[in-house]
Structure formats: C-alpha cells, structure tokens
Symmetry: C2
Subunit: 201 residues, 2 copies
C-alpha cells in the first residue's frame, strides 16, 4: 500500500473512531434484551420455536453491525486514465437507525482518477463497511463519498444510492415498491455534464 | 354473513385463540427492552438520532404483529362455478420467528368452490392476518390453507408462497436473491393435473 493510501487509511480510521459514540457489543446483554422484547410482545420465550431466538437475533445484529476488515488497495494511475471509473448496480443492505429494519437497494459509485486508482471491489467494500451501522440513507451516501475523496484525492466523486426502506414497505405508509434515491457529487462531478450523465437515473 | 361462514369464523377465532400462547403487547416494556438492546449493541440511546428509536421499534413490532380485523364475506355459488378460483401474485410480508427479520414475497392462493364463494380480497387478507405473527414459512402456508378449508369447505385448496428470507440475504449465508417456495394442496388439488398446473411455478 502506498504511503498516500496509508495516510488516507489512518484518516479513515480516525474518522470511524470519531464518527460516533459506538461502543463494544455485549452479546449476553443483547440476548437478555431480545428475550425481554419477546416477552413484552406477549411471546413465550420458552416455546421451543422461540427459545433460541434471543441468541440468533443478538448474533444477527452483531453481524449486521460489525464492519468486515479489509485493505484499501490502490495502484498508481500510470497510463493517466482520465475518464470516469463507475461501478454500477452494487447491491447493498443496511439497517435503518429509526426502526432497526433493513433498507436495501443498489449503489452506483464512481470517481475521476487523479494520481491513483483503487481496486474496484473496494468501492463495494467501502459501501458495505459504512452500511454495517445504524444508518440513514443520506448519511450513508455522504460517508462513502467523503471516504473516497479522502482516500484517493480524485478529481471528482459520485455516489448514488437507490433503496427500499422496509420501514416504509412493511409498516407505516406501507408503500411497497417505493425507492428513495440519494446522491453526493464532488469536484468535477459536482456540476452536471456528460460525465455525470453516465450515472444511471 | 351466512350461518355457514359464521360457524367457520367462530372456528377460525377458536383456532387463533388456541393457536399459541400469545399474550397482549406491553408497549412500555417493549420500549425499555429495545433501549436495552441498543445499549448492548454499544449505542448511545441519548443520541438525538436514536432517542426515539425504542418508541419506533416497539411501535413497528406492534404494528407488524397485530392482525387487522376483517369480515370474511362469502357468497352462495348460485351458478355452480366449478373451476379453479386462483388469486395470483399477492405480495406479502412476515417476520421470521428465528431472527425477527422480515421475509417477503408473493403468494398464489386458490380453491375449487363447493357451495360458497369467498370475496377475492379475503384471500389476501387471510394471508396478511397469519403473516402478522412470528412465522416460519411452512407454518404460514399451511395456516392459510387450513383456514380456507375450514371457512369454505371447498373441493380443493392450494396455497403457494415464494419468499425471500432476509435472514438468509442480509446475514448468515448472504445468498441474496434466493427464494424459498412452499406449498400446501388439499382435496382435488392434492393430486397433480391441469387444475393444479394453473399455479405458477
Ligand atoms: N430522511 C430519512 N428519513 C428516514 C430514513 N429512515 C427512516 O426511517 N426515515 C424516516 O424517519 C421518520 C421517523 O418519523 P417518526 O418519528 O414519526 O417515526 P414513525 O415510525 O412514527 O413514522 P412513520 O410511521 O411515518 O414511518 C419517518 O418519516 C421515516 O420514514 C432515512 O434513511 N432518511
Ligand atoms: N424451514 C424454515 N427454516 C427457517 C425459516 N426461517 C428461518 O430463519 N429458518 C432457518 O432456521 C435456522 C436457524 O438455525 P440456527 O439456530 O443455526 O440459527 P443461525 O442464525 O445460527 O443459522 P444461520 O446462520 O445458518 O442462518 C436457519 O437454518 C434458518 O435459515 C423458515 O421459515 N422455515
């Protein structure tokens, strides 16, 4: 990894630590809380169908809220590739901070390279990293865009998320099939034009 | 409502009461449990983004687990309609009893009428009624089929559910896009043939 991206990674780690007051997960306490929730919902936690549910739910939250570690492989842009690098239709899942219900959809993430290129899979991995949190879609979109800007110092960044919020489909307004689009564009992509038009609508 | 369907409705109510040991929902206790869960997950429940989450999550579970009341309107089959009545592609959502995560998909529900016909929307409403529970897909399928058999005493019943379980997509094996098909067929639909072939594969 180049010293450039090492610096960026340190920045990133700082960002994540500063990000919020997120502490360690206490699995036994999470299991007890889920058992309390089931009882409050009128359920018999000794029922053989439910007795393992507190363990499974706590484990599911732990998994969905723990980012996987990865390395952020960058390459020198030796050929001076100037155009847009755009990874389209990246499926993603996250958890709604308001209802603890999933929201999920597809992302399009692109950048206009400067001196360095990034391993393509890393765009999807960065999205996954920020998705494994209690999120709102706007913040998730901006976090991915800010991360890419910090890491690569590219000439432009674009992040578009199009997601269905199950808190809108399964309950509340119950508007099944509705999707929400959010976008963050930086640098040369901040203004419209043929490059930005390559992002799907 | 005919005396026939009144009897069936009483049967149905008995079934639901006998169904399991489900008690009343205690919303304040559910809120406390969700706050405990958030703390166990390392979150600060005083954070302005999270402070209302216990109320919302408790309310969301209450909504997703409380069947809506409806009447089960039946009509006499005066014309002696003999063929299959099949409502296809009914979207549905339920909650996985193992992980408290949604599972959702489409249902095809049909019957071969005897003396009575049922309001078409009631097939979708019955599915919704049984979906608003902590479920496994096999049980949900069979409950809808048994309900239809009890209510209408038809010559045949078929219920097919095709669903995505978010506990398989978002976590665990993470097999996004996988769907699970379950089916219950009774009476003249219990054996294969041209009527049963009308159910989509
Ligand atoms: N901007 C934005 N809003 C969100 C996200 N997730 C999410 O639940 N919300 C919204 O947060 C709001 C919470 O409102 P509320 O405190 O009245 O909660 P509620 O469950 O009673 O609202 P609801 O029944 O209208 O869904 C809802 O409008 C919900 O749609 C998100 O990612 N971005
Ligand atoms: N037959 C059936 N199985 C289900 C349903 N919902 C549901 O979670 N399951 C399964 O229940 C099992 C629970 O297994 P487990 O006790 O090992 O829980 P886990 O979360 O560690 O399992 P996993 O990580 O394999 O999903 C899983 O295989 C899960 O796929 C359902 O509706 N029908």
């Amino acid at each position: 990894m180049s010293s450039h991206s090492e610096v960026a990674l340190r920045l990133l780690e700082d960002d994540i630590e500063q990000d919020s007051s997120v502490g360690a997960i206490d699995l036994p306490a999470a299991r007890l809380a889920v058992a309390d929730l089931l009882r409050a919902l009128g359920r018999d936690v000794n029922d053989p169908h439910l007795s393992d549910t507190p363990r499974r739910v706590a484990g599911a939250f732990e998994e969905m809220l723990t980012p996987r570690t990865t390395s952020w492989t960058t390459f020198p842009n030796d050929e001076g590739y100037n155009d847009l690098v755009l990874v389209k239709n990246i499926p993603f899942n996250s958890l709604c901070q308001h209802h603890l219900l999933p929201f999920r959809g597809i992302a399009h993430i692109g950048y206009l390279p400067g001196e360095r290129l990034l391993g393509l899979s890393k765009l999807a991995r960065a999205l996954e990293m920020f998705s494994r949190d209690l999120q709102v879609q706007e913040r998730l979109t901006k976090q991915v865009a800010d991360w890419l800007l910090d890491l690569l110092n590219p000439r432009g960044v674009g992040v578009v998320l199009e997601a269905e919020h199950l808190c809108m489909s399964l309950r509340g307004v119950q508007s099944a099939g509705t999707t929400t689009r959010t976008a963050t564009f930086y640098g040369d992509l901040a203004v419209g034009g043929p490059l930005r038009d390559q992002f799907p609508n």
